[in-house]
Amino acid sequence: MTAVATVPPRDDTGAFRAALPHLAPFLAVLAAALILPLVGNDYWALIGTRMAIYWVLVSGLNLVVGFAGHLAIGYVALLTLGAYTTSVLVAGNVMPPLPVFAALPVAACVGALFGVIVGLPALRLRTFYFAMSTLGFATIVTQIALAWQSVTGGGIGIAGPEFPAPFNTAWGFYFLCIAIAAFTTWLSANVARSRYGRALIALRDAEVAAEATGISKPKMLIAIFLLAGACAAVAGGLFASLQTYITPDAFTFDLSILFFIAILIGGRGSILGPMLGTIILTILPEIAAPLAAWSTFLYAVLLLVIVLVMPGGIAALLDFRNRRPLAANRAIVPRPTALADIMRKSAGERTLALRGIVLSFGNVRAIDGLDLDVAPGQIHGLIGPNGSGKTTTLNVISGYYAAKAGTMTLGDNALPPGLPVLRAARGIARTFQTPRVIGEASVLENVMIGGSIEGRASFIEAMLALPRNRYDERVLAAKARALLGVVGLEALADVRADRLQHSELRFIEIARALMLDPDFLLLDEPAAGLSNDEIERLAELIKAISARGVGVLLVEHHADLIFDICHYVTVLNLGRTLAAGTPADIRVHKEVVSAYLGG
């Protein structure tokens, strides 16, 4: 599907000026890092190097913990793995010795592989379970390092790799680490700012909605586990060199805690925050030497304080823009007429047809032999009392439930049961009864999520900020802004979505669904919680959408809205069709009137 919306021309100087406020803090940190050699001694070189190495690991881990929201607390395991792989390869314990600059990339590959192995449980497990599995992995790696004496030297240890000149002095090595840290920062920032970064946050905060827009969780997670594992292993190689000699004791669990807490102190979904967090946590024990033994205790106290008092972390403290109050009496004024310029007109040849759908939960038949046709360009109303199976029908169509019997077809093709992730590619978009938006992302980003599958750039291209990714970003942003104009929310584009009112969230969901240029749009009670004025505007908007050839399936309790705009109405009761016909037929249908409308 192609966007009709015009692609804004490239304007690099303007883009740079817009990015400068975001870029400035990073440049300041880099400048400070470059000034350090002029003012510091070798002791500071050591601390600075350590900071840079930790950040190499944290910058990758941040995508896992801060963006994807998976609580990986045992990442010291991958640091250990990288340190031993590099050291062993350079020492030549198992094969002819490699030069250190060849050993590091090998270690990165090994780390990436194990990053995925450690991360795989995250596809099925959340929170505590995943935290436990990474913790278990961390204990195992140390034990293996202790036991595999012929390779790792066991408890006696092994010499770390030595870098050739000019990186064999304290400051030379420092600059190497800073350069690598700057590079991983750039990589992770590119991922974070691309549609992949947004998809990660969507999977974290609104997984169901992310699936409906076609974001595949396994693909996304595997990509970032590869990146995080590689970063951690490279950090391990550098760490081994800094230590000059490594034993399993060097990789205490306290390090894991430092990495993990640095991200949480920094704040989720931020890069600057965790970077400052890493710097603070590395310096903290140094400037308070008597407290060095208590450093883990301090980290733990910090973690508790952050969780209880300041869940947003440093990033929330620095987010000045979202403290400005919003206008209190703002109104949503959609401009449905603009839709024609933005949305591709749907080809409008295929009908979405359900035949004999049956779905039960235990002994309750939620849907019991339902037939339904949604024709292109038509608004099909689905009404009925609570528990009659309306939302369940939407969930069957969008694949969250697999029907026990019956068929779904889209034109001539069968629509397979289940598999919600594949619905977006087939042109089916939806909204939810309770709006599922990402509170911590901006309104614009929330809408851009809807176009995730339209992006052309691969993860690698996004990570390296290649032209195709930049093109994707421009197209998605322009289209999202235009659609926000259509639903009347363009003034709020840059505001965090959790600051909005309920009714505004409903319109965001519609804009997000339209990003797909869908052939079919499933709306689940879009008018719930809206004022009368807003319902009227919503009605105009839905009519304009169907005029673009979109088949709309509308679940609603507001009978007036249904009878106003629908071309066809199906009434459900106890999972069966009670009546079906034009609004005029339904309004006078005896059973419907007595069972549902009253009168």
Binding site: L71, I73, L120, P121, R124, L125, R126, T127, F128, Y129, A131, M132, S133, L135, G136, F137, T139, I140, Q143, I144, L146, A147, E207, V208, F253, I257, L264, A293, W294, T296, F297, Y299, A300, V301, L303, L304, V307, L308, P311, T391, N395, Y400, Y401, F432
Partner: protein, 285 residues
Amino acid sequence: MLASILASGLAAGAIYALVGVTYNTMFSTSRVMSFTAGQLAMLGGVFGSMFTLKLGLPAIAGFVLTLLGCALIGIITEFIAVRPVLKSLDQHLYVLSTLAVALMIQQVAAIKWGTEPQPFPRLIGWGSGVTDEKFWLPVLACALTILGLEYLYRRTLVGRAFLAIAEDNFAARALGLPERNLRIASYALAGVIGGVAGFSGGELLLAFFANGALLNFYGFVPVALGGLGNNRGAIIGGLALGLFQQAANFMVGGIFSSVAVFTLFIVVLLTAPQGLFGASTARRV
């Protein structure tokens, strides 16, 4: 060898099972999985050694004081790490807050008690070889704890109130049950169970600060095997885990036994995320 595997497997398994029950006891009233479960068992050993060896108290007095100390830690956990995050249970902040408390406990133990394993006294002095008390004491403690819990849950009003809260928190509160006090009580009870695990297993595991992290993991495996909140599953899972681990230990060596346990854990979680005895999860949309 078989006798050794059985003796050490059942002993270790009984300790893992008790830690699993500690997890479940906290979970039942608060829906929170707490990283402090293993730390409570670690404290059982450290407190026990401190009271009986360092301070020279009689075993009974040391036992009672240990349980009191662990119960107190349990209550403190409830106040500072659980109650504040209950309002937003869906954000899973409890993972972080209980991790923070667990780390604090571990760090204080490491600094104040020492980072070397320290001996735990012989309590009774019965048996030798595979019938040594260090093997049967944890099993006995586990059996008595189960009997005690069964009595509590089935015969007493407080126990039934626990079950009611665990079954349906909202309905229980609507009936007027003092949910908050019951939650505090359950955290104290969890402290006691963890303390029993650590005290009875003290001769086997010694008084060692790093036992906390170890037992956190090995105690969680039976919970994952048996399903959250399912005590019967945790007991069966714990004993099975102990036997499996010790059999692997004797046959292929210590390192690979932990690799084997980890692999088992991951495989079970991936194939049956709700545990072998658990119920399936709620709807998402």
